[in-house]
């Protein structure tokens, strides 16, 4: 019989027991749906992490004062004042560095437009816009001249604008009091939304770091240096070089611990991605187990089917079926069952993914590779677990089979 003929016979046999066939496929359906959804969630998570990393800044490296002891816990005493704007200037000279900005951080009350608002003040350099890949919604960023003259100019995040000037989305030229010092608004930042840690990134006021140090905090050190490497590949080298540069500048001789720590967002991203991958692997394991269980279910039903259809097998043999034809018939039947389950599973998985995307607002996509792999794998499961029942059918003795009650 031709393959088409065999598939036809198989489909008809399965159709005769439609509800049983569907129940048999259930294991495979669940397994494949799990695979499809898992892969979609996993790749979605990776995309999300990458998006948020890109959102934080381009090829960003952060230097914080104080040493890292273990698990990212910073050692405190006296070390918090170890970084200066001069360190930043020195780092800016390194090859592979695109831009550096010092960051001076202060929480303060801001008064303007008849309202007041408690927010994060960051004293930064004009390079900040580049380092954080942050564009302006209105106005301009401050300049080197503003830095040199300790200008009292500021740029507001959209959350601050909404709270101080609810009626004016771009309050350029308005005056605000930051810790009792009057500053003029020269720009509004575009909205960045929440960070991956759930922080509102738009709840911020930027001023020149020189103004921050001299007019607000009186400190001579900075709270962080943000560095942008020229490319993702340059990150590691820049990190090594700035570490030795800072050790040299701070006169740190090994085994003395560093009085600063360097973080590279790609590492953090990789850790997050790795965690997502482990989750994905676990889920994939569950899916694989469910596929195997589904395969055993198919084997079980095929054995029942062979027994039920013993007389049919005997008859087919009597009218001229070679044992190979019987083997193929039952093998194809098992493969049709499992492949059918696989295809239904892909559809179910795709529906679950779409619904989850809508509910979680998480960018998930069903990958073609996952679809092809799971359909192929389920076909394989059918052939593997269908082989034994099919072999059993093909080895029946026609006389015994015809006599079977």
């Amino acid at each position: 019989m031709s393959l088409r003929g065999i598939i036809d016979v198989a489909l008809r046999a399965l159709e005769r027991n439609a509800s049983r066939s569907l129940l048999t496929m259930l294991g495979i359906i669940i397994g494949v749906a799990a695979v499809i959804t898992t892969v979609a969630i996993g790749s979605g998570a990776r995309v999300l992490v990458q998006q948020q990393i890109a959102n934080l800044g381009s090829n960003l490296i952060i230097v914080l004062p104080g040493a890292v002891i273990t698990s990212g816990v910073r050692s405190g005493t006296g070390a918090a004042s170890s970084l200066t704007p001069h360190d930043g200037l020195a780092i800016a000279q390194l090859p592979g560095v695109a831009a550096v900005t010092p960051v001076v951080t202060e929480h303060a009350q801001v008064v303007g437009g008849g309202n007041n608002w408690n927010t994060l003040i960051q004293g930064v350099a004009p390079t900040y816009a580049y380092v954080r890949a942050w564009d302006m919604l209105a106005g301009t960023f401050f300049t080197q001249h503003d830095m040199d003259t300790l200008a009292k100019v500021c740029i507001l995040g959209t959350t601050v604008v909404t709270n101080l000037f609810p009626d004016d989305p771009s309050p350029l030229g308005e005056s605000v009091l930051i810790g009792n010092v009057p500053f003029t608004v020269i720009g509004v930042l575009q909205s960045k939304g929440q960070s991956s840690f759930g922080q509102d990134q738009d709840d911020i006021v930027l001023i020149p770091y020189t103004s921050a140090m001299n007019r607000l905090t009186g400190q001579t050190y900075v709270n962080a240096l943000m560095i942008s490497a020229v490319s993702g590949n340059a990150i590691d080298e820049v990190q090594n070089e700035l570490t030795s540069l800072l050790e040299q500048r701070h006169r740190i001789v090994p085994p003395q611990p560093d009085d600063f720590s360097v973080r590279n967002l790609q590492d953090i991203a990789n850790t997050a991605t790795a965690t997502a991958q482990i989750m994905q692997l676990l889920l994939a394991g569950v899916a694989a187990v469910s596929l195997v269980v589904g395969g055993i279910g198919i084997m079980n039903i095929m054995l029942v089917s062979v027994t039920e259809r013993t007389r049919e097998i005997g008859l087919r043999m009597a009218v001229g079926a070679r044992s190979r034809a019987i083997l193929e018939q039952f093998l194809v039947e098992a493969a049709v069952l499992s492949t059918g389950g696989g295809i239904i599973g892909v559809i179910v998985g795709a529906i679950v993914t779409v619904v989850a995307t809508l509910l979680a607002r998480w960018p998930m996509s069903v990958s073609a590779e996952a679809v092809i792999a799971s359909v192929l794998f389920s076909a394989l499961v059918g052939v593997f677990f269908g082989y034994y029942p099919a072999l059993k059918a093909s080895r029946l003795d026609p006389i015994e089979a015809l006599r079977f009650e």
């Binding site: 019989m1 001229g320 070679r322 006389i399």
Partner: protein, 239 residues
């Protein structure tokens, strides 16, 4: 006339030791083309075993068997399967139609295994159905049909590949008297009109009476081999 079947000194022994059963004990016979042979005998006398060996469903323990001059002794089971699909037709006591499969497709089944293309299969199946007088039932399912109708379809299935020999094991065993005689009328008509060679196993004398030749088995041997004048249509029903 050439011999369709020639067997010489066939023996079939089941089991060994104390459970050893001699089902066939030196059977020699020859059937010509156009023969209508009934095999009768007591239960356990070896009739079915003989039919299975002739039908290539079972191999004899010893002896010689030529089917249309082919020595089947040395053939592989695939070759035997191919011979069954091309040269033999079977009719069983319990019809053995595939359930939930209509009459036409049931009749087509042997052709599927001998590689006949779909279009010719349907044509051959329809003409086989009309030979047994149930062309109108082509699209009926077995469970919508009476026993007699089902057996007619089974006979059409046996005819569809133009076999050299039709083997029927107790074909009337599951039928009432009236249907039994109708089926036997049909078989003798096929033998008379279409020169189809038939080997029939039965334990009922009045069924055997339709044949032209009656072989009587006893303890795995042929006890008698006699010609018979079929009394078609005039058989008295004594059941």
């Amino acid at each position: 006339m050439s011999a369709v079947v020639e067997v010489h000194d066939l023996a079939k022994i089941y089991g060994s030791g104390p459970s050893r059963t001699i089902a066939l004990d030196g059977v020699s016979a020859s059937f010509e083309s156009g023969d209508f042979v009934a095999v009768v005998g007591a239960s356990g006398s070896g009739k079915s075993t003989f039919l299975h060996v002739i039908g290539l469903l079972d191999r004899p323990t010893s002896g010689k068997y030529l089917l249309e001059q082919h020595d089947v002794q040395t053939m592989t089971s695939d070759e035997l399967a191919d011979l069954r699909s091309k040269k033999l037709g079977f009719v069983f006591q319990s019809y053995n139609l595939l359930p939930r499969t209509d009459a036409l497709e049931n009749v087509e089944l042997p052709l599927a295994y001998s590689g006949v293309p779909q279009r010719q299969r349907e044509k051959a199946a329809r003409s086989a159905l009309s030979m047994v007088g149930v062309e109108a039932l082509a699209r009926h399912l077995p469970n919508q049909l009476s026993g007699g109708q089902q057996q007619r379809i089974a006979i059409a299935r046996a005819l569809v590949n133009n076999p050299s020999l039709i083997l029927a094991d107790e074909p009337t065993g599951a039928l009432d008297t009236k249907s039994s005689h109708e089926i036997m009328e049909l078989l003798s008509e096929l033998n008379r009109e279409h020169k189809i060679t038939i080997l029939l196993v039965t334990h009922e004398r009045d069924i055997a009476a339709y044949a032209r030749r009656i072989l009587t088995f006893r303890d795995g041997r042929i006890e008698s081999d006699v010609s018979n004048t079929p009394e078609t249509g005039a058989v008295t029903v004594d059941a």
